[in-house]
């Protein structure tokens, strides 16, 4: 909205909430990037920094919540302002969850560096980069109040789902090949799942941006490509079936 509020302090409160969301989003994005970097570089120190860094996101979330409750009680926002308040409340919640997942990736990384490196980490890092790009894009859409850009983010999540499914099958195969892989692969499975969940929360944010701009939820169900819940990898019965014989 180009026009300013007649009551300046009201406008300033809304702007402050906007800034806090952007700050939270930036932090969540950085946390994920650092967690992935720590995983790829097997850097336990960086991973520990990520674990510690999550507290700041939590703080920002409660700050946003308090401000919005106060705004609702004291200003009774209407129309576009009401949508800013409700969207910010929900988005801050999604960002907080994203922060938690990034923290969990980092925690598992601290464990993972104690066992031999797995080739799958590269694919995970690709997934992480993709999701990180989605977070950035959705924050840009939020700042620009751009429902179309938000819709692109929502659709991009399919690719994350596909990567997650193939990652899931790949990791199962490693575990079958050598039981010593089970511990690191299980952690990697959870890491992949966490990143996939971050993608889902990012699409939720995209939906909130759509609501914020248009006043309604986006049309149509989001196409889902994550088949990991129905994936089965059968043990290889012969040497020829060394790859996966996936059954979707």
């Amino acid at each position: 909205m180009s026009d300013e509020h007649i009551v300046k302090s009201f406008g300033e409160e809304l702007e402050r909430i906007d800034q806090l969301i952007v700050e939270m989003g930036g932090l969540a994005e950085t946390q994920l990037a650092s967690a992935i970097r720590a995983l790829v570089r097997r850097d336990a120190e960086l991973a520990n920094q990520v674990v510690d860094g999550d507290a700041r996101i939590d703080e920002l979330e409660s700050d946003v919540n308090e401000r919005i409750i106060r705004l609702l009680a004291l200003r009774q926002p209407m129309a576009g302002d009401l949508r800013v308040a409700i969207a910010a409340l929900k988005i801050s919640n999604e960002l907080e969850r994203i922060g938690d997942y990034a923290k969990n990736v980092a925690k598992r990384t601290v464990v993972l560096v104690q066992s031999p490196a797995m080739p799958a980490t590269l694919a995970i890092s690709r997934m992480g980069t993709l999701v990180q790009g989605m977070i950035k894009a959705v924050l840009d859409a939020y700042v620009a109040r751009d429902a179309l850009a938000a819709e692109d983010v929502r659709l991009a999540d399919q690719e994350v789902d596909q990567l997650h499914t193939s990652m899931f099958r790949e990791l199962l195969t490693y575990m079958m090949e050598d039981p010593r892989n089970i511990t690191p692969c299980t952690h990697l499975l959870f890491i992949a799942k966490n990143i996939e969940r971050i993608g889902d929360h990012t699409t939720n944010i995209a939906e909130n941006v759509h609501f914020l701009v248009r006043g309604e939820d986006p049309d149509g169900a989001r196409p889902k490509r994550d088949r990991s819940s129905s994936t089965m990898v059968k043990p290889a019965s012969s040497a020829a079936a060394a790859g996966t014989s996936g059954n979707q």
Binding site: E4, V7, Q76, A79, L82, G215
Partner: protein
């Protein structure tokens, strides 16, 4: 939803049709040469509360006063277009204006009880309209009207006291009881709570919600929260035009027009 261009009737996709009680078509009002409202077309639905909102001087009260021809009392005021109540054009020369105002009652901004007893305040209308013929009838109408206005318990033991001795909120409920005593079909309310405290306001709002079962109510209010609380439909007026008319929920969460958004969020210059 319905963004209104001045000579279109609002179209309401996806909204179940509700019987319209009043249908205004391209209504303009002139004070002398000056046009105060411009070709307003609106369907007021029966048994709903419709709120008119907009900045001072936007024409919402002027339009409200057209609906029972209160503007007739102003010499230089001229109304064009048509307003149909049920199937009757209320500006038809054959219409008896006194009868019309019995069908379309009005409650004003400032409570204005007659300087008479509480009882006579209520009994006056039914008597002059010949709705009651004896004391028993009148007693019944007075009691029923005061009960419906939620005032009976507070005044039943002092019906012969002066109406002007009541508190502001009670006086306004007395005026509402007086309006409903002549069994109107529509009640027009011009900022009925603007001189009342929040508790008295809440009582009136509760009453409005109760009354819409039996009456069609149109309320002009400067309080957007009040419009949001009491109405099912909201029309936004600006500089004599009706900018937007739609379901209250939609108008206050996702207005179709930028001007409406600007006004209800307090960004109006």
């Amino acid at each position: 939803m319905s963004a209104i261009s001045s000579n279109d009737l609002p179209t309401e996709a996806g909204v179940a049709p509700v019987a319209s009680k009043i249908r205004a078509d391209r209504v303009s009002v002139y004070y002398g040469e000056k046009r105060a409202i411009n070709e307003i077309s609106i369907d007021i639905q029966a048994n709903q509360v419709t709120a008119f909102i907009g900045p001072s001087g936007c024409g919402k009260s002027t339009f409200l006063r057209c609906l029972n021809r209160m503007n007739d009392t102003i010499d230089i005021c001229r109304v064009t277009g048509s307003i149909v109540l049920d199937d009757e054009d209320i500006y038809d020369p054959k219409v008896d204006v006194v009868q019309l105002r019995a069908r379309v009652g009005m409650v004003f901004q400032k409570p204005n009880p007659f300087p008479k007893s509480i009882y006579d305040n209520i009994a006056y209308g039914p008597r002059i309209h010949g709705l009651v013929s004896n004391r028993t009838d009148t007693d019944r109408v007075v009691e029923a009207s005061l009960k419906r206005a939620g005032l009976w318990e507070e005044v039943k033991d002092r019906l012969l006291d002066s109406g002007t001795g009541l508190s502001g909120g009670q006086q306004q409920r007395l005026c509402i009881a007086r309006a409903i005593a002549v069994q109107p079909e529509v009640i027009l309310m011009d900022e009925p709570c603007s001189s009342l405290d929040p508790i008295a306001t809440a009582r009136i709002e509760e009453l409005i919600d109760e009354l819409r079962k039996n009456f069609t109510i149109i309320i002009v209010t400067h309080s957007m929260q009040q419009a949001a609380r009491v109405s099912q439909r909201t029309a936004f007026f600006h500089l004599g035009d009706m900018i937007e008319y739609g379901d209250t929920e939609q108008v206050f969460t996702n207005p179709a027009e930028q001007k409406t958004q600007g006004y209800i969020t307090g960004r109006f210059g």
